[in-house]
């Protein structure tokens, strides 16, 4: 419970930093984006490491 509470500032900051990063990606041109998580501007470099 304490760990979850301590995580919250980090998650909140990361979410809002993602907004700024998203704007930067949009302004630079986002290119080909798939559902699979990957860096927005780099071209596809192969499947990511799987959790399976």
């Amino acid at each position: 419970m304490i760990k979850k509470a301590l995580l919250f500032p980090y998650v909140f900051a990361a979410m809002n930093w993602a907004v700024v990063a998203g704007l930067a990606c949009f302004l630079r041109g986002s290119g080909d984006i798939w559902q699979r998580p990957q860096p927005v501007l780099r071209t596809h470099q192969g499947p990511p490491e799987t959790w399976a």
Partner: protein, 344 residues
């Protein structure tokens, strides 16, 4: 404008986006809820649409999952739109299509992106309802039935299912990512009850074929554009929590990258569909501005809040400055502490 005014306006905007709007939405959705006139047992023809690039790891199981849906086999087809796969996905799909006439394949030899793949699929799908899903997620057997029930309501243009994130033990994720996802789902449900969601869950949503048109090839968020187009045309984009898809929680760095991509897509959507920001043309203008545009503005409000409190530095402003410094300090230190914990 004085630093004090900047401080209070920024604080008010932040509180509105995260607390005020959800409370207003909760009240509004209770007072003015619009039930969907579902028709259980309605069975239109359905085309399951899967856009696939390199999905060799998942596509075989996904095709099994789709063909085993609890829906009349003669009323169901699966359209796989291949987008320049390089890992053997095309061989797997074509082999399956040769054995089962319900699987249709359309392909681009080179990679052109998901939007282009979906546009190709639209041309090959022949059924009344298009059910969009991604290659990775597992669907519950009754998703087709539960989604089309809502489309029986002529006011409904699109219907989204629910994506459940599971941890490695197969339980619903409960750490920070799961909690955020639960908060978002509550907002989506209330927005749906009031009028419409601001998009759909890309892993599982359905639209009537006649309400779908090709989307711009550079579109990042097809799962927002397609449903919102139906909303701008006067229909509703609703949420059906009984239609479920399952996925695993990705590592935090992948979730972060996915978030960046989604947010880039939000900016792009406003550029591609500027009518969304026209209150007279968008039935969910208030929800869009409060939920989506508000989130885009919050980081700048946070910065303004910090700088204005640093500038004034007396009384409550000094307290606020110190509290924010501790907050951001924790945000920077926690990942280091977790990493240290993991190293032990």
């Amino acid at each position: 404008m004085s630093a004090r005014a900047v401080f209070w306006i920024s604080a008010a905007l932040i509180v509105y986006v995260y607390v005020g709007y959800p409370l207003l939405l909760a009240a509004a959705s209770r007072l003015r809820s619009r039930p969907v006139r579902r028709r259980p047992g309605w069975e239109p023809t359905v085309s399951v649409i899967i856009a696939a690039h390199d999905e060799a790891r998942h596509i075989d199981a996904k095709l099994d999952n789709c063909l085993e849906l609890d829906y009349p086999p003669r009323k169901l087809e699966v359209v796989v739109s291949l987008d320049g796969p390089t890992d053997g996905t095309d061989e797997i799909v074509r082999r399956r299509a040769a054995r089962d006439s319900r699987i249709k394949v359309c392909a681009s030899p080179e990679r052109r992106g998901k939007a282009a793949a979906l546009n190709r699929a639209f041309l090959h799908a022949t059924n009344e309802v298009l059910l969009f899903t991604d290659a990775r997620q597992r669907l519950e057997p009754d998703v087709a039935r539960t989604l089309v029930e809502s489309l029986a309501d002529p006011e409904v243009g699109s219907v989204s299912g629910e994506l459940l994130l599971l941890d490695e033990q197969g339980r619903e994720a409960g750490e920070s990512v799961g909690l955020y996802w639960r908060y978002e789902k509550t907002l989506r449900r209330m927005e749906s009850d009031l009028h419409s969601m601001l998009g759909a869950t890309g892993a599982l949503y359905a639209v009537r074929r006649r309400d779908v048109a090709p989307i711009p090839e550079q579109t990042i968020l097809d799962d927002m554009m397609i449903p919102l187009r139906t909303v701008l045309a006067g229909k509703r984009a609703v949420f059906e929590p009984r239609a479920r898809a399952y996925d695993r929680v990705s590592p935090p760095e992948w979730e972060y990258r996915r978030k960046v991509r989604t947010l880039a897509g939000n900016y792009q959507l406003l550029q591609l569909m500027p009518e969304l920001l026209h209150p007279g043309r968008n039935p969910v203008f208030t929800q869009l501005v409060s939920h989506k545009v508000g989130r885009l503005v919050v980081p700048w409000c946070l910065l303004a809040l910090y700088l204005s409190s640093a500038w004034v530095q007396e009384g409550i402003y000094a307290l606020a400055f110190q509290a924010q410094t501790v907050w951001y300090g924790l945000a920077l230190l926690i990942p280091l502490m977790i990493r240290k914990d993991g190293d032990r």
